[in-house]
């Protein structure tokens, strides 16, 4: 399966640093477009702060809409990093190497972006501090520490800190290479960031141990983050469709599905934009697609269980909600689109090796997955609130306003902008991993076949 390429260290340095030591022609035009989108997005956010949440489509009873959907979506995407970097590192999957950095980076930037949404959703974000800190000792008004809404920022903050550390630790050897190949201010910055890295055995040993330790420590955080996000919904018995025991693992597996798909999308772009065909090869797409088939099927199983159990209780309001979600316009269109894009079309394609090895097919199918996963979150959050309930005196269909759509589009532009900005100064494919891969892989003849081999300690 592995199409091994023999590459010299010099070649690896020059090819993987081609975006850092020189500027590709497409870079500034793309950054310009993304920059404009980011400025428009921030302006819209400021406009919303100035005018209040009335400019959004949010109104009782639908008080959680596009912002919270997009928040859950980006938290989900952030699960890519640990899935690819930590879990595959611990299981010694050799094919993980070229994609670890991109996955970790996606984790950090998507988490940063996710954090914006609850802040924006609060309407007056400067008052969010009251949510976390006691603001009136005299009257004994304290934040409710038993609420998942309180745990959320703590879990996400811990995850963000850990992921950033994880990214930085893996970046140190590459920073030293950049330090040795740059001059002036850049060299100064790289020198500070490289922390005196010389690549001696002790430093390597510490780096490897730190990587493994962080991988192991990040795993429980990785699971807890999306579990807590799911409990934001699931501990609320009042909203139909939310109070389900399966939500935590269902959210986690869905997050892995969308996160790994996002990494594949990024890999396609990296291969096309920087021409890293020697590093990001069809075998990597093949392996990730196989992983995605397993993850997607598990996710579908959880979706099925969630649906079955919502009907199992034979509670009329719950059945009415599912009828709304599945059979009523326009939710039925969203539901069908979600199933087609989240599972049926992509997994249907990935079953065939020809598709798994086709970069364009992988690009579009993984985009579809994330369309489906966004719709899934929308279907979980909005219909439950939109349906008439006994204590609701008004019930209206929710439709996001242009302000919300612009802010959602901004989030995609913002993440892309940050990624490209990072790629200008730091290598997106870890150089040391590429070199280690050269050393840790070999070939042998078994009969008439040449079999790729992986070295195990």
């Amino acid at each position: 399966m592995q199409q091994r390429r023999i590459l010299s260290e010099k070649q690896i340095n020059s090819e993987l640093l081609n975006g850092n030591l020189a500027t590709p022609k497409w870079y500034f035009p793309v950054m310009g477009v993304l920059g404009i989108a980011v400025v428009i997005g921030f302006s819209t956010i400021l406009y919303m702060f100035n005018r209040g949440l009335g400019v959004t489509g949010l109104a009782r009873p639908v008080y959680w809409g596009l912002f919270i959907t997009t928040f859950v979506f980006w938290v989900g995407i952030s699960h890519a990093g640990i899935m690819i970097s930590a879990i595959l590192r611990l299981t010694q999957a050799e094919w993980r190497r070229p994609v670890t950095r991109a996955a970790e980076l996606l984790t950090v930037f998507s988490l940063l972006t996710a954090l914006f949404f609850p802040l924006m959703h609060a309407g007056r974000p400067w008052r969010i501090a009251y949510w976390l800190l006691p603001y009136d000792f005299a009257r004994g008004i304290w934040p409710n520490v038993r609420s998942p809404l309180f745990w959320d920022p703590i879990a996400i903050g811990t995850y963000l800190t850990g992921s950033t550390l994880f990214l930085f630790v893996a970046l140190i050897p590459d920073l030293a290479i950049l330090r040795d190949r740059t001059t002036g201010i850049k060299k100064g910055v790289y020198t500070v960031l490289a922390l005196g890295w010389r690549g001696n055995p002790r430093q390597w040993q510490l780096q490897v141990v730190a990587g493994i330790l962080l991988s192991a420590l990040m795993l429980p955080i990785f699971v807890s983050v999306h579990s807590i996000v799911s409990w934001d919904f699931a501990v609320t018995p009042a909203v139909e469709g939310w109070h389900s025991t399966i939500f935590a693992p269902y959210f986690v597996i869905g997050a892995v599905h969308s996160g790994v798909s996002a990494v594949v999308t990024m890999m396609c772009l990296m291969r096309w934009l920087w021409k890293w065909n020697n590093y990001i090869r069809p075998e990597h797409f093949d392996a990730l697609a196989r992983l995605l088939i397993v993850v997607a099927t598990a996710w579908l199983g959880f979706t099925f269980l969630e649906l079955i159990f919502s009907l199992y209780g034979r509670d009329a309001p719950e059945i009415a909600l599912r009828e709304l979600q599945i059979f009523t316009w326009p939710w039925n269109l969203i539901f069908i689109t979600f199933l087609l894009t989240g599972y049926i079309i992509p997994v249907g394609c990935w079953l065939f090796k020809r598709c798994r090895n086709n970069i364009a097919v992988m690009f579009w199918t993984t985009i579809l997955v994330n369309v489906g996963m966004w719709l899934e979150r929308f279907l979980i959050i909005v219909p439950g609130l939109a349906r008439k309930q006994i204590f609701v005196y008004t019930w209206e269909g929710y439709w996001p306003s242009p302000v919300e759509w612009i802010i959602m589009a901004w989030s995609f532009a913002w993440v892309s902008f940050l990624m490209l900005l990072f790629a200008r100064f730091f290598p997106l494919v870890p150089l040391f991993e590429a070199k280690e891969s050269q050393v840790f892989t070999t070939e042998m003849k078994v009969g008439r076949a040449t079999v790729p081999m992986v070295i195990r300690e």
Partner: protein
């Protein structure tokens, strides 16, 4: 130091010459020979006798009738345990194979052989199907995932699913054994050779046969895994959750499957230890396999907790009458001490022991962990199943939830018959396993050969390592 020991052990596994290749064949084929000594026959006889006791107990149990549902609680707990202990054991072979791991090869046959032990759950399931109430109780439909289907739909489908799982398991065992049966055919005599000749279906190892075999193994393994999850889902819902009015727990089928896998890993750990010791296979089953199993067990204990807490959190925070009833039934009600025991022995104790690196490479310690986990699993099944059958009633089943005052104050204690069923059917499984080991080599010869072909001992700078081939 520990790494160095592991490395040396791993390196010693690499046998890259033809003589050792042949020696491995002879050595492993010989595990099927009849002259294993009196000790084997004694063990075989004891388990056979206990299996007979189990079958007699089953007949007595059936004659006692199906009306008293609460008396079937321990019985259903035993069936659930058997699905875990024997039914999920083959997953230890299937999961690493799908992940293209190398370490599982010497123990994959042991794992697959437990499919034959699944006979015990098949036999036990059918009387239980008769004890299961129909979908219409007292003239009204009870809550069920079968909704408005024929009133005996769960009974029929579950029966078919269990038989299907057993047959697919046997098929998988047979398919994965074909090259070894060919080896037995070529290296043995008499009746064993004749049986091996029939079952090996003319396998001589042509390229075409190998390609076909690999495809069949992949398909059978996938089918087995899917059927296994299907059986766990059906059993946990139809024979457990649906019997308690108001218990609605979407994660529960997955919890049931996951804890089943945990008990399956524990079973394999004990089996591997005993087989390695008594068949003197230390050169074949090495620390790498023990280590791999330990890591799986570590993951399984964490999954136990995660799935438990996912459900518990929702019930605890929901605070509705339904949620409080569910907590009372599953956690702090009459089976509270059983729950505490299960929590300690399925999660806290094994997790705390196995977290330490030296333990994960220490076979006797891992057997201790496995035994603890299995006891924990027994307690877990008791707290889940016995109360479900205990609280079931034709009057209560249609309620939205069982009122607190209607939940029993005390637990049902097992009868002697429950004990003999437990011992008898566990013994039947072991008996079937031992019976299979007389025909099929206990360690997969062809996988061992593959391991020899695909591993190479190489010099790596100043140290020595081994390289593993990863063919497509």
């Amino acid at each position: 130091m520990e790494k160095e020991v592991i490395r040396r052990i791993l390196i010693s596994e690499v046998l890259n010459n033809q003589e050792e290749f042949n020696a491995a064949t002879q050595n492993l084929v010989s595990t099927t020979k009849e002259d294993m000594g009196g000790k084997f026959k004694l063990v075989f006889g004891i388990f056979g006798a206990l299996a007979l006791l189990g079958l007699v107990s089953l007949i007595i149990k059936i004659t006692q009738g199906f009306d008293d549902k609460s008396s079937w609680g321990y019985y259903s707990a035993i069936v659930s345990l058997l699905f875990g202990v024997f039914g999920t054991a083959p997953m230890v072979a299937i999961a690493p194979m799908i992940a293209k791991a190398d370490w599982h090869r010497p123990i994959s046959r042991i794992a697959n052989m437990f499919t034959a032990a699944g006979l015990s759950s098949v036999i036990m399931v059918f009387p239980l199907i008769f004890a299961l109430p129909p979908l219409v109780v007292g003239g009204y439909r009870r809550r069920s995932i079968w909704f408005d289907a024929n009133i005996y739909t769960p009974h029929v489908f579950f029966g078919l699913a269990v038989v299907g799982l057993f047959l697919i398991g046997l098929g998988m065992l047979w398919v994965t054994s074909i090259p070894d049966l060919a080896s037995v055919r070529d290296h043995s005599t008499g009746r064993r050779q004749r049986i091996a000749k029939v079952l090996s279906r003319g396998f001589i190892g042509t390229e075409r046969q190998w390609i076909s075999l690999r495809a069949r193994i992949g398909m059978m393994s996938t089918f087995y895994f899917m059927f296994l999850i299907f059986v766990h889902i059906l059993y946990s819902i139809n024979f457990n959750l649906e019997l308690v009015a108001g218990w609605k727990d979407a994660i529960y089928p997955m919890y049931h499957a996951m804890t089943g896998i945990q008990s399956g890993i524990a079973t394999i750990m004990i089996a591997v230890y005993l087989i390695r010791k008594y068949y003197k296979l230390e050169d074949v089953i090495k620390i790498d396999q023990i280590w791999g199993l330990a890591k799986l067990m570590f993951a399984a204990t964490i999954f136990w907790f995660y799935f438990f807490i996912c459900a518990f959190m929702i019930f605890w925070y929901g605070k509705s009458a339904i949620n409080e009833m569910t907590i009372k039934i599953l956690v702090n009600g009459p089976y509270m001490w059983v729950f505490i025991g299960a929590f300690l022995l399925s999660f806290i104790v094994p997790w705390w022991i196995i977290i330490w690196n030296p333990v994960r490479t220490n076979p006797p310690m891992l057997v201790l962990v496995a035994v603890i986990t299995l006891i924990g699993c027994v307690l877990d099944r008791i707290r889940l199943f016995v109360i479900s059958w205990q609280v079931y009633g034709e009057d209560t089943i249609h309620l939205r939830y069982i009122p607190s005052e209607d939940i029993p104050d005390s637990m049902i204690m097992p009868t002697i018959l429950d004990g003999t069923l437990f011992v008898g059917f566990i013994s039947l499984g072991i008996f079937m396993f031992l019976l299979m080991s007389r025909l099929i080599p206990i360690v997969s010869i062809w996988e061992k050969h593959q391991s020899i072909l695909l591993t190479k001992h190489i010099k790596f700078y100043r140290t020595e390592v081994y390289a593993v081939g990863k063919p497509d």
